[in-house]
């Protein structure tokens, strides 16, 4: 195709477009066109129509059709590969030509040749209108070319701000609930619902310190055992504490049988420890 084009000395489409084909007179011996430069068959038709140098409204459709078909024929002779679009248009135009030349028969169905020609004319005019419009558009005063925006826009400072809402009632409720909760928690702690090992140990160490007689654990703790609920935790904690204190050599412990009372006394010395065993 490239070779064929060279042979045909194609006119670059850009130039054709730029010149509006005005100076490309019809006197040219033959129509040599670079088909690649056209935006499809309608564009080619428009170009040919413009070559007629008349208003599209008064254009000779028949002449236009003949020029197009001639162009296609020419391209074929040069073995130019034409896109299918161009060939379809050629077929349609050949049909249009036949309709235009042969008077409309009485029982003919479909559009008359004149109607088909009018449609073609409409499409050409519409395309031309859009082409002109695009030219008018690009020649407007354009932003960044003819007209300019503020070169140094000043920043709008967005201050993010939170606005808080709370009512006095919210505030007082929160305060009252919080203080009350804490006050009641404090009271519970004062009741010592649970004996910790540490507490038990302190109490035992304090109580047994001066005592050298064997004493039942129960009795040591009697005055601390306020109710049956506390008894278990106190017993458990103090027994654990007892074992710890025995291991550290601060206490001696003895029990005569399973579940029998546990007796404690302060450590007497090496001998008494052996005796206790």
């Amino acid at each position: 195709m490239a070779e064929a084009e060279k042979a045909a000395k194609p006119i670059p489409m850009d130039r054709l477009w730029a010149d509006q084909a005005e100076e490309r007179a019809t006197s040219d011996p033959e129509l040599v066109v670079d088909v690649d430069g056209f935006e499809g068959p309608l564009d080619l038709l428009l170009h040919l129509a413009r070559n007629q140098k008349v208003d599209l409204a008064r254009i000779s459709i028949l002449a236009l059709v003949e020029q197009y078909l001639e162009f296609i024929e020419h391209a074929r002779r040069l073995r130019l590969e034409l896109a299918a679009d161009y060939l379809v248009m050629a077929a349609w135009l050949a049909y249009l030509k036949s309709r235009l030349l042969i008077p409309k028969q009485a029982r003919d169905e479909g559009e008359s040749g004149e109607e088909m020609a009018a449609v073609l004319q409409f499409r050409l005019k519409r395309l031309e209108a859009m082409r002109d419009a695009s030219a008018r558009l690009v020649n407007r005063n354009r932003l960044g070319r003819d007209v300019f925006a503020r070169g140094a826009p000043e920043l709008v400072i967005v201050e993010k701000r939170n606005r808080y809402s709370a009512s006095l009632y919210d505030l007082l409720t929160a305060y009252a609930i919080q203080r009350q909760r804490r006050a009641i928690t404090n009271v519970r702690i004062a009741k010592r619902g649970v004996w910790s090992l540490k507490e038990a140990r302190e109490i035992l160490a304090r109580l047994i310190g001066p005592t050298t007689d064997w004493t039942a654990l129960d009795r040591f703790l009697a005055k601390y055992l306020a109710g049956p609920e506390e008894r278990k935790t106190a017993l458990a904690s103090s027994f654990a504490a007892t074992l710890e204190l025995v291991r550290e050599g601060m206490l001696e412990v003895q029990q005569t049988g399973a579940f029998a009372p546990i007796y404690l006394r302060g450590r007497q010395g090496q001998r008494s420890t052996e005796a206790a065993k």
Binding site: W17, E39, G40, P41, L42, D43, D85, M89, A118, V119, F122, R123, K125, R126, L127, A129, M130, R131, D132, A133, S134, A135, R136, L137, V138, R140, N141, R142, L143, G144, R145, D146, V147, F148, A149, R150, G151, P153, E154, L155, V156, E159, R161
Partner: protein
């Protein structure tokens, strides 16, 4: 508005326009504020944005009309761009401004033609563009136009296949110095000649492109996220999103 700034805001009564000296002073202050706000921005400022920032009740229309009048013969003009306002250098001073011109990407003839078709015929589908031009539109051409942000997908035509419709943006108006789409050069004559119709009109009642290009026409559906995904403009969402 911050507490501190409230102190400075002079309250406005909506009917302040022709009135007492105090009201005129208030109007003049609103004009100054609008001037500062629009002048500060390179982009058009919408009336909604202005309303938010001017004192409550300031009458936007007379304020902007007055400002436009003040600047009408200056080196900088106040222009309306779609729903907004912007200051732009006066077009007759283009010759002084050439130095500031930024090298702009040149659009191909095809792209310009498609742009014009979209502008004058919007909302328009790709098939309709191709019908007008009598040739296929390469995807690259539409992409280029979408990239310039002069063209956008508007919605989908309520016809079989639900084709995407294209239209222009406010940026398009801004770039080409148009207040609105109705200001496109020659649009009235083209409409009169029936050249904005899809088919050769048997009657000449050709609908104008809608004044508000953002509003979908009766036969357009809005684009959904699913549509955008389909069109490759949104990455598909993770399913657990």
């Amino acid at each position: 508005m911050s507490e501190g700034s409230k102190a400075k805001v002079i309250p406005f009564s909506a009917d302040a326009v022709p009135g007492s000296t105090a009201e005129r002073v208030h109007l003049a202050e609103a004009v100054r504020m609008a001037e500062a706000i629009v002048f500060a921005s390179a982009e058009p400022v919408s009336e909604a944005q202005l309303e938010q920032r001017l004192p409550a009740g300031a009458p936007i229309e007379p304020v902007m009309a007055e400002l436009q009048q003040i600047y009408s013969r200056r080196g900088v003009n106040l222009v309306r761009v779609g729903p907004g306002w912007a200051f732009r250098t006066a077009p007759d001073l283009a010759f002084v401004m050439t130095r500031d011109a930024v090298q702009q990407k040149k659009l191909s003839r095809a792209a310009l033609e498609v742009l014009a078709i979209i502008a004058y015929h919007q909302p328009v589908t790709r098939a309709e563009i191709e019908d007008i031009r009598g040739v296929e539109t390469s995807k690259g051409t539409l992409d280029t136009l979408l990239e310039t942000e002069w063209v956008r997908m508007r919605g989908r035509r309520r016809t079989p296949g639900r084709p995407v419709t294209y239209g222009t943006t406010d940026r398009f108006l801004d770039h080409f110095g148009l207040e609105e789409i109705r200001d496109l050069p020659g649009i009235e004559e083209l409409k009169g000649a029936g050249l904005l119709a899809q088919r050769m009109p048997s009657n000449f009642s050709v609908p104008m492109p809608p004044a508000d290009t953002d509003e979908l026409t009766a036969d357009e559906d809005p684009l959904t996220d699913i549509d955008l995904e389909e069109l490759g403009l949104l990455t598909p969402r993770a399913t657990d999103d």
